[in-house]
Subunit: 356 residues, 2 copies
DNA sequence: CATTGAAATGATAGCGCTACCATTTTGGAC
DNA sequence: GTCCAAAATGGTAGCGCTATCATTTCAATG
């Protein structure tokens, strides 16, 4: 290759070159011409109206209306190094809790003219890595992640991309960049204390086996064991595990198995409200009064929780606020403002209703 | 303005101009230099590897690894008039049914290196219009809409944008461009016939008041009335309306009101599975056996439907397939393939379980 | 009227990649 | 070895907008 003779400049006239322009597309040039200003003034009239005279502004706006011009944000983003896109990665698009965060984030960003690119990792690090590669190529102004578990490669990639990153839905002291979340490990002990205060003497946990649910379950079981209120002899034997993708039916069958094993059970912490719903159904089928015979606590405070019979006591996390704050953090970063608080703990609360 | 003296070319040396390049960013030029090829060969090695020699390809790939290069998709999209983005508009990000469609669409598109921009219209045409303006500026390769109700302005905008558009979740003969959906008006008569065949003699409908739910409800009531099996004297009096954002509790209270009004009721069609769940709860509280005393049919076949007691009979629409087909249609269009079938009716089915 | 500084506008060049035409290289056939 | 066509590679220019420096215009002041 190095030995190749360099090609000489072509003698072909440039004017015979085919146009590469998207046909029929109205550009800023067209607007500027019609308005009788330069393209950059037309651009300013759109993006920085306060530095353009009222007269010029009105002429540009009239030209935009007449031509039906829509700015090409690809070009503007490239020229300004500002895409006004934020990319979000969720494990699944059909999980109610994450989507609440994404909704709030999307709304916050839409207020300032941002759009959201969405990606699904399917709870799989390799897929997340692939997705991150594609996403970084989009040059978003920020990236929001719905968890803190990433591959080493993914971390390095994100840290080196020069893009603001906000991790959510967890709380660790060493985020990639910024973090808005809550501590799963702190929930267990709070719920254990709550059930003890409620008079429970033999409690257990019914939990999905995804990483975060496992942490909540284990911290609950350990705290309950320390309080000497576990239904099983050990913390471990007071946990019943369910496959990660839970449903009402899975929760129901899981409770049946748990109750078989620990029939003296008088309180149960469920890894989600969906699981708790299954527990309520099975408890009723077995003639157990809730909360008299069995106290039930869920997680998530989903929309249906107050409507169950009895209304579900559950751990509430403000998914909405996480999304809003994540949006704020990114916008501040983009604006060059000092972001003092890179770690935001939104906490959680136990919403007391009729089930416990 | 027209009388202004044109500015003369500046004598300032071009080399004193500040660089506008994103600092530290590795570009294709850097990769090409390191690999000893031209930038366009490096580009081909990435995008069209089959027209590059194996030797050059490997040198480019090594250079990419060494530099950590990530293509700038803004630039590539602008130069090629191909963004590899598809924009989706949903009424809400927290509604389970739409998100199933979006998930399937996202997965289909991810297979071929596309990303999805997501927007929320909030069931508001003005908001949708605003969103469409922003979205069109992104120059996506396609736009997917989750309904056919748009403002006149929005329609004109979409039709004139030169971007493939797929409307979903409905079925009309006059889509803006392409359509993948099912007929809400056809569902009512099918459910009425089903309940009649089930032996019901006094049926009613419990429905949210959003446009599509209303169409299902009215067509059901009309068909049931024609079959002389309405619980009320008229089709209208056999409908009970709920505010559009329904929940289990709203469904439950709505059924209580309906039952108060029409106590001889022996079959009910609900506008969603969530509403049906509330009906099941209230029926049980009233000692009504389902389906012996009251047949219950839902809509949507949500994940919890089989787990209810009794398992819910419901109208199933393949939300997943709508997303997948929508993705396929857009990809075909982008590839310049002939898209013969611009209207795809995915139909619906009545999933018979224990509640009817 | 002249001067000055701020406001308004314009020119130049570039953001990073790729469409398309041009040129070179390679391999097979005779 | 020559010729030819296909494969491989490169040069030019542009996609549509905007950062930044340059120039012009305007308004206030003395």
């Amino acid at each position: 290759m190095k030995s190749r003779v360099k090609t000489q400049p072509s003698a072909s006239p440039a004017s015979t070159r085919k146009s590469r322009r998207a046909h029929g597309g109205v550009t800023l040039q067209d607007v500027a011409r019609l308005a009788g200003v330069s393209p950059i003034t037309a651009s300013r009239a759109i993006n920085q109206p306060d530095v353009v005279s009222e007269d010029a502004r009105e002429r540009v706006q009239r030209a935009i209306r007449q031509t039906g011009y829509t700015p090409n944000l690809l070009a503007g983003s490239l020229a300004s190094s500002r895409s006004r896109l934020v990319a979000v990665v969720v494990p699944t698009l059909t999980g109610p809790m994450f989507m609440e965060t994404i909704q709030a984030l999307t709304e916050r960003l839409a207020e300032v003219g941002y759009q959201v690119i969405i990606g699904q990792s399917g709870y799989d690090n390799a897929r997340e890595d692939e997705l991150l590669n594609a996403i970084i190529g989009r040059r978003p102004d920020g990236i929001v992640l719905t968890g803190v578990a990433h591959s080493a490669k993914g971390r390095v990639r994100l840290a080196g991309a020069g893009i603001p990153v906000v991790e959510t839905w967890d709380f660790i002291p060493t985020p990639i960049d910024m973090l808005v979340g809550f501590s799963h490990d702190s929930i267990g002990p709070e719920v254990a204390a709550f059930l003890r205060q409620r008079g429970c003497k033999r409690v257990a946990v019914l939990s999905a086996d995804d990483e975060r649910a496992v942490r909540r379950a284990k911290s609950f079981a350990a705290a309950a064991h320390a309080l000497r209120i576990t239904a099983g002899k050990t913390a471990n034997s007071s946990c019943e595990w369910l496959p990660a993708l839970t449903s009402l039916g899975v929760g129901r069958r899981g409770f049946a198995a748990l109750f078989e094993r620990l029939p003296k059970l008088d309180g149960v912490f469920c890894s989600s409200d969906v699981v708790a719903q299954g527990v309520l159904a099975e408890a009723q089928a077995r003639g157990l009064r809730v909360p008299e015979d069995l106290a039930v606590v869920g997680f998530g405070d989903l929309a249906f929780a107050p409507d169950l019979h009895p209304p579900l006591t559950t751990v509430r996390v403000d998914a909405n606020e996480m999304g809003r704050i994540a949006g704020d953090l990114i916008l501040k970063r983009v604006a060059g403002e000092s972001v003092k608080t890179r770690l935001v703990d939104v906490g959680f609360s136990i919403v007391e209703r009729g089930s416990a």
